[in-house]
């Protein structure tokens, strides 16, 4: 019950606090690219682009690794490796984001700086740090959905002489795909909302990134950095950004629910009546 109330309270307060921004600059102006509190411009497009690009970058790096790990745990690993890697992923999931951010700041950023010059901050290091953060989420959910595929499918395939990989590719992974898609979406959700780890390696700068290694901002980092020293419409614009983030993640949850309903429907369609 509390969670329902809390959710509504959150939406209510975020709307209330962000109302001046919507009113002042108009909905259309919120989605422009000029952010200049001194001149009363509060376009958030830069941050939206920043958020989306670091998240997509993280998916790009993290998802293949995570799904491959899930497949390894599901189909290839012996019991002891299963335990070791499974535990490892749990531990990885528990590492605070501030620590990952700090590590990114003290190792990745200098590395990129040395290799590519410039500040070494921007989308690339952010994506790498985020990839590490979403791997546990994606890997464990993908693994659960692979494990949920009845063993009998794999058995039937193997008994016909299929290799493990043929069995996975033709039977098990197709059967598990709604779950795997769900894992990726939840990973995306985690990436969209992550703040600290990104904030320490993204720059920051209020400008569109020219390449993968120029400082920029995301919705979360902008909120984090400026909430403390903002007033009036400026502050309210930050709340508007939070509101957009909230709706983004609720949209993803809605997608996940749709997928999981689909998955259960597919399964129940084939219920065995004997």
């Amino acid at each position: 019950m509390i969670s329902v109330v809390a959710l509504f309270l959150m939406v209510f307060f975020l709307i209330r606090e962000s109302l001046p921004a919507w009113k002042e600059s108009g909905v259309a102006n919120v989605f422009t690219s000029e952010w200049n509190p001194d001149r009363g411009r509060y376009g958030i497009l830069i941050f939206l682009v920043g958020t989306l690009s670091v998240s997509v970058g993280a998916l790009f790096i993290g998802t293949p690794l995570a799904i491959a790990t899930a497949v390894y745990l599901h189909a290839y690993a012996g019991p002891s490796w299963k335990r070791v890697i499974g535990r490892g992923i749990e531990v990885l999931a528990g590492i605070p984001s501030i620590i990952l951010g700090w590590l990114g700041f003290t190792t990745l950023v200098p590395l990129f700086r040395r290799v590519a010059g410039g500040t070494g901050m921007g989308i690339l290091p952010s994506s790498v740090v985020l990839a590490v953060m979403i791997i546990p989420t994606v890997a464990s959910i993908a693994r659960d959905s692979l494990d949920a595929v009845p063993d009998t499918y794999a058995e039937a395939s193997l008994s016909m002489g299929a290799t493990r990989w043929q069995t996975l590719r033709r039977v098990v992974i197709p059967a598990a795909w709604p779950g795997i898609a769900m894992a990726v979406i939840l990973g995306l959700g985690r990436a969209l909302g992550e703040t600290m780890a990104v904030a320490m390696v993204i720059g920051p700068a209020t400008a569109f990134p020219r390449d993968l290694l120029t400082p920029t901002h995301t919705l979360t980092t902008k909120i984090m950095m400026e909430m403390g020293e903002s007033t009036g419409v400026h502050r309210s614009s930050l709340f508007a950004m939070a509101l957009i983030l909230l709706f983004l993640s609720m949209l993803l949850i809605w997608l996940v629910r749709w997928l999981s309903n689909r998955a259960t429907r597919d399964m129940s369609k084939g219920s065995y009546f004997c």
Binding site: G78, P79, P150, T152, Y153, E155, A156, S157, L158, S159, M160, G161, A162, T163, Q166, R170, V171, P174, A175, D266, K269, G270, S271, Y272, F273, C274
Partner: protein, 289 residues
């Protein structure tokens, strides 16, 4: 390799069946005419636990061999030894030999893929893939590199016909296999195995999840299939074993938790009407198990 006529004769008439102890002592462990498969001193253990101990029996060509026994005696595990499906279990260890057409399938250089193509398996619970009817049957041929659509069409149709399912599904080849009834699903699984042209078909309690009418259809189907294939069926249903099989192997455990041993093997009629072992008699008359 014997022709099917000889096999049938042997099975039906029992003319060439060695059923006396003297004949068995002659070194041939199995009273059968034409051995498609043969198990010699086969033992199976999972880790420390021994599941099967020293099984010696033969699987006669083009006939139905039933494996019966109380639950937990290892009869399903025995079946899985025949196409090396036990290898998928961690810690499974097989000792002894299993011959297919005189070749030891556990020899290090024996190709497990071709073994599984020759020795197909149908499982206890119907387990069609969550794909269309067509794709289920085409699965095996595709694995073996058949891409030609026309050839696949023919293979699918003929396999379904042989599995006595064609007439029921010919209009819904593209619908999900999971939308079929349980009995149809099981026949689809048989069609899926037939599509790779096996020589031996292993069935692990194929009717235990089916209603009597579906069971009847599967049993009829088996009678047809044994003209062309060697069939081994594990069943806990003694009536079924008596109805469908030509040979029967009775496996049981001698002490609680001990390994399964082959108690008796012979022509089904003999085993059921004139069992040599007291234990067999007790089991088939329902006094234990």
């Amino acid at each position: 390799m014997a022709t099917s006529d000889e096999g049938l004769l042997g099975a039906r008439g029992g003319l060439r069946v060695a059923r006396t102890a003297e004949e068995r002592r002659d070194g041939d462990p199995s009273p059968v005419p034409d051995k498609k498969m043969e198990l010699v001193g086969l033992s199976l253990s999972y880790g420390e636990k021994k599941i099967l101990d020293d099984i010696n029996m033969a699987v006669p060509d083009r006939s139905i061999t039933a494996v019966i026994g109380p639950s937990g005696c290892g009869k399903s595990s025995l079946l899985r030894c025949l196409n090396r499906m036990n290898e998928l279990v961690d810690g499974a260890r097989v000792e002894g030999k299993v011959y297919l057409d005189g070749e030891d399938v556990y020899a290090p250089d024996y190709d497990v893929v071709s073994l599984r193509r020759k020795v197909g398996m149908v499982f206890q619970k119907p387990n069609p893939f969550p794909k269309s009817v067509y794709e289920n049957v085409a699965y095996g041929p595709r694995l073996y590199g058949v891409k030609d659509r026309k050839l696949l069409d023919r293979i699918v149709e003929e396999s379904l016909r042989r599995a006595a399912l064609w007439d029921e599904v010919k209009d819904k080849l593209d619908s999900s296999a999971l939308s079929l009834s349980g009995g149809q699903q099981q026949r689809l699984c048989i069609a899926r195995v037939l599509a790779v042209q096996p020589e031996v078909i292993l069935l692990d309690e194929p009717c235990s999840a089916l209603d009597p009418i579906s069971t009847q259809r599967i049993e009829d189907l088996l009678q047809e299939l044994k003209e062309s294939y060697t069939i081994v069926i594990v069943t806990h249903n003694m009536q079924q074993a008596a109805r469908v099989s030509d040979y029967t192997a009775f496996i049981t455990v001698e002490e609680q938790g001990g390994p399964g041993r082959l108690m008796e093997f012979g022509e089904t009629r003999e085993v059921f009407t004139n069992p040599k072992e007291k234990k067999t008699e007790d089991y088939i008359t329902g006094r234990f198990g």
